[in-house]
Amino acid sequence: MSKYLVNLTINDIPVSVPEGTTILAAAKKLDFRIPTLCYHEDLCVAGNCRVCVVEQVGGRALIAACATPVSEGMQIHTNSAVVRTARKTIIELLLSEHNSDCTKCYKNGNCELQSLAHEYRVGDHVFIDLVNGKHRSIDDLSPSIIKDDSKCIRCQRCVRTCDELQGVSALAVAYKGDHQKISTFLDHPLVEVVCTNCGQCVNRCPVGALIEKTYVEEVWDVINNPNKHVVVQTAPAVRVAIGEELGYNPGERLTGKMVTALKRLGFDSVLDTDFTADLTILEEGTELLTRLKRAVVDKDPTVALPMTTSCSPGWIKFIEHTFPEYLPNVSTCKSPQQMFGALAKTYYAQKKGLKAQDITVVSIMPCTAKKYEANRPEMRSSGYKDVDYVLTTRELGMMIKQAGINFQNLEDSAYDSIMGESTGAAVIFGATGGVMEAALRTVYELVTGREVPFANLNILPVRGMEGVKEAKVKIEGCLPEWKFLDGIEVSCAVAHSLAHARKLMQAVKDGTAHYHFIEVMACPGGCLGGGGQPIPTNEDIRAKRAAAIYGEDEGLPLRKSHENPEVKMIYEEFLGAPNSHKSHSLLHTHYLVRKQY
């Protein structure tokens, strides 16, 4: 931002802002809200919806506040008669091309266009309704995302999200004029194209054109089925975001209340995905050490390094499409969600004296891609669908509201057992860099017998919101069995959002970057910024959720995955050892090469 200040007035109030500031931002500084639809903090300016128009004294036409930088001596009016009339007309025109069947819309009550229509009290049938009779279709074939063209206002937030944040560009603007629509390649269904199901578009769609596919009714049905034992697991990032659905400010840690709420909803057992996150660290850490051993000791040229994480189903589908030649590099570990499902219907069933077919596993995830992941044919290691239903953080908020639970007054309670125990290392899975940090805490100690050499176990180089982060950890003073690693500097990289993942993988492919271990999370900020998280999500909100996650970690008595007592127990009682034959059959998977275009 320029150091030169520009002076202007907005609604006759003088303000000075740095050169290059938009009128929208300058007005915000004075606490004037200018309505927007196509604008989003995370994305480049498009200026196509026009609802942010303002009047410049002496100007010929109204100007878009989001797309116009301030200039010296400008006099702006954000709410003059001409602005109000124009804005109302613009909203009415948008509505004339929008399926305004609001009461039956999934986004009813959480729709930016609906709010504006309400704010401006638009009348009925001002313009001819242009929705009917057009070639508008609903694509509900994906298990994750529903795309309904009749509700689309063509603000193109989704197109910019898919391109700028994710580098996927599964969505583009196609056709023109009144035929213009947001389309995939040849208008194929989302399941048949390069879409990773990350749901970042869903998180940014101002209307109901892109929504998650909901399974709330199915989950109510199984809860009410007396023959089913319904187990619910909650992902780390949900506990720091669920509050936003229920009247709290971003960044509130509500683990205890959330567990109580889940019990009141009627789940038979409320368990934690964090348990299998800890388990993932043991499995993935062992896998990494095995690969390093093969490379260093056996000099095996076929060993695939760098190894990448595999927790993020958006990342998995992305690499299957985009860098299929690197699939051997991806850890074979299933994601914590799927490990949990496989164990719930085997280990848990056995311990509780239940039959696998009588257990239903529900996941609460910050993610829409998890819905797709649970549907993958590989994810049936228990002999049944390992995870039956996946709900987003938003859907959990919806269920709590439907049940009439006064969330704010709930007491805290603890997760049930077994598979409810977790450590701080598992909690930080929800933030970018968290899996790397958790893995380093465990692997370093496994190999050297000492704690990882960072103050208070906080591996700060892998934290924060930079797109690609790097860390190097020198391994010294190894235990006898790991002597071969002595003196090796383990080189790690962390990427979040697929656009950054693409850059990182391209650098690996070009041979300009050399790492042993790479963590990739498909969403900006990691899972805490997932496509299933409360709307809105932006930089500020992501930072608050991240602070809450690291706060949760610091507050826990156990902060290293290998210290999780239930993890120790499951290896003793059931799995044997990390990467054992049984582990492989239940906790590991394989990947598919998918078409690149």
Binding site: A172, K176, Y597
Partner: protein, 155 residues
């Protein structure tokens, strides 16, 4: 069959492999084989490192960049008001009868596709049609049929 790979190669020699090469490539392919099929769009996306959706989005914006199979000769009859008043319906009926197709369809022998078009800028000499790049103004039903017969005799 036109070698689309070769077309891409030739155009990128001139325009590079930047996004700006997209339009020239799309135009060159359509000029050679009259339309872009799915595989062409994918090849172009691959060559320019663009997403296939973006290439399709761009092509679909332009009426003259067809993404569905077209005949050897594409007839576009102007449907805008001046040509309408000058009798374009009669022209269309005559062509439909001659070629045994409806507007939007391709003849069985693959020689002709009949389409309607927005204003071609020949309002003073309507009704008008375009066959590939060639304009035929001041049409009558008889003239239109005569023109088609010449194209039919060509090969």
């Amino acid at each position: 069959m036109a070698d689309v790979q070769q077309i891409i190669k030739d155009v990128t020699v001139v325009y590079g492999k930047e996004r700006k090469a997209l339009m020239p490539i799309l135009q060159a392919v359509v000029k050679t084989k009259n339309y872009l099929d799915d595989q062409d769009l994918i090849s172009i996306a691959k060559a320019l490192d663009l997403s296939a959706a973006e290439v399709f989005g761009t092509a679909s914006f332009y009426t003259f960049l067809d993404t569905v199979p077209r005949g050897k000769n594409v007839i576009r009859v102007c449907k805008t008001i001046s040509c309408h008043m000058a009798g374009k319906d009669e022209i269309i009926h005559a062509i439909e009868d001659t070629l045994k197709v409806k507007t939007g369809q391709t003849s069985v022998d693959g020689k002709f596709t009949l389409l309607s078009a927005n204003c071609l800028g020949w309002c003073h000499k309507g009704p008008v049609m375009l066959i590939n790049d060639k304009v035929f103004p001041e049409l009558t039903a008889e003239k239109a049929i005569e023109i088609l017969q010449k194209y039919q005799e060509e090969d």
